[in-house]
Symmetry: C2
Subunit: 280 residues, 2 copies
């Protein structure tokens, strides 16, 4: 099932076209989005998601999102959802039909891809793919929108197809200096010696809402957490490599570039339970 | 005015929404496009544009465009256009609502931005902006879709806003080795000693339809043309620097990073006339 709501809180039929062909979100990928996990009627990490939406809007010089209106639209979708226990809530905000026109904005509830659900339990094989950027680029060149969650995700989708061609289910992008960036739609978390690591957002990646939640949960359980550069070459020797995103939650990487990684099932179970406990 | 046609040749009202919110063209910038100049009822360089559409489709693993259908849609728009003598014909082709669904495809005639028309006559001030990629990246990493004309143009739009912040009207992107790439929506042509230069598409830029037409016209007029690397540092010493695109035609760069360039009006007039003569 799907539930569509506009910012005034009105429901609409997702099977009916609502977008004009000239919308810059369509013509130019010129807009931003968030994907929020809704579980048992609760939108997880909604506050950080809305903060990140505002951050992306600022990076794209779009009007500041109306926080109350987005919360209302999210609530409308959640209240009208009668499907699976968990679903994905997309918040989409485009520049609209002209630079001077009203932005287009809607919230859309959709079911989570069964492949994503399966990978939560079974883990996923990942390939590293070159992203072609150096870690200082995002700060030098803000017009490249590195770290903004824009609608221009064609490359993220192409990377997923490249992974499939290589027999894998997901991707970790790497920078020119050999450091780890992020997945096309996830953040990378590495576990080593009872410490969790993730790279800093300043290198041009999205600050992760789920990554932050997992770190919060791990800290409660006595883990240390560090935000610092991760070398791609060090992934294979870690106690665990994980992809974090709203719909994935914490997904275990069991194979990297065709080579099985050490079994991280026990660490995964502990961290995943800690994450769930945040919302219990 | 605007004229909208779908691939079966039917006309539609562009003020009515025709796109579903779940269209991957909107949600992921996952699709491709072309912008064709129509002048006096003729779609200029339509064959190269359709060839490039097919090339982009292949790079994005999309179904091969139906050439006859696109020609029919283009013809429908042209036949129903009753506005300005010249207009922009957008061909838009998205992955549709699901990976397995039918692509979304339409042709849309729109008026050309008055700023673009003015720059054809008056020239334009340009800033160079770092693109952060090296010239070998496109061939090493095809999943980055460098050189595909995808709908994921948020960065191209952001670069234009950065230019405006710097008091300029357009952008030339540069690679990490200091070579010239392209404009966000144009190709770069440099004139020196009765020879025209443009960078090779293999460095991750769009092969230019208008650039190719300008080269063809210049060759007829006795110019030499070369496709080779251009150093950003050499732009200031050229006889002329130009941006070429369908709607821009050949637009003269009169100022680069705040410094006036040598007057290239005479060269521009000659080349622009040669280009027009192709369609006379």
């Amino acid at each position: 099932m799907r539930v569509l709501a506009f910012l005034d809180g009105t429901l609409a039929d997702p099977d009916t076209p609502h977008i004009r062909v000239e919308d810059l979100g369509l013509m130019r990928g010129d807009g931003i989005f968030e994907t929020v996990l809704v579980a048992d009627g609760t939108a997880r990490e909604l506050r950080p998601h809305l903060d990140r939406l505002a951050r992306s809007a600022s990076m794209l010089d779009m009007p500041e999102p109306d926080d109350a209106a987005w919360q209302r639209a999210a609530r409308t979708v959640i209240d009208n959802w009668s499907g699976t226990r968990e679903f994905a809530l997309k918040l989409v905000y485009t520049r609209g039909v002209e630079p001077d026109a009203e932005p287009t904005a809607f919230a859309l509830g959709i079911e989570i891809d069964p492949k994503v659900l399966r990978a939560r339990d079974e883990g996923v094989a990942v390939v590293t793919l070159e992203r072609g950027i150096d870690p200082g680029l995002a700060e030098r060149a803000p017009w490249l929108l590195l770290g903004a969650k824009s609608l221009s995700y064609a490359v993220n989708m192409a990377a997923g197809r490249e992974a499939a061609r290589r027999g894998a289910g997901d991707v970790i992008f790497t920078a020119t200096d050999g450091s780890v960036l992020e997945g096309p739609t996830s953040n990378v978390i590495v576990a080593r010696d009872h410490t969790l690591y993730t790279p800093p957002a300043t290198i041009g990646i999205l600050p992760g809402t789920t990554q932050a939640a997992v770190f919060r949960a791990a800290e409660r359980a006595g883990w240390s957490t560090k935000i610092e550069t991760i070398r791609t070459a060090d992934l294979a020797g870690a106690d665990g490599v994980f992809l974090a995103s709203s719909v994935r939650k914490l997904t275990r990487v069991h194979t990297l570039d065709g080579t099985p990684l050490p079994d991280s099932s026990a660490i995964h179970a502990e961290l995943a339970q800690g994450y769930e406990n945040l919302y219990a």
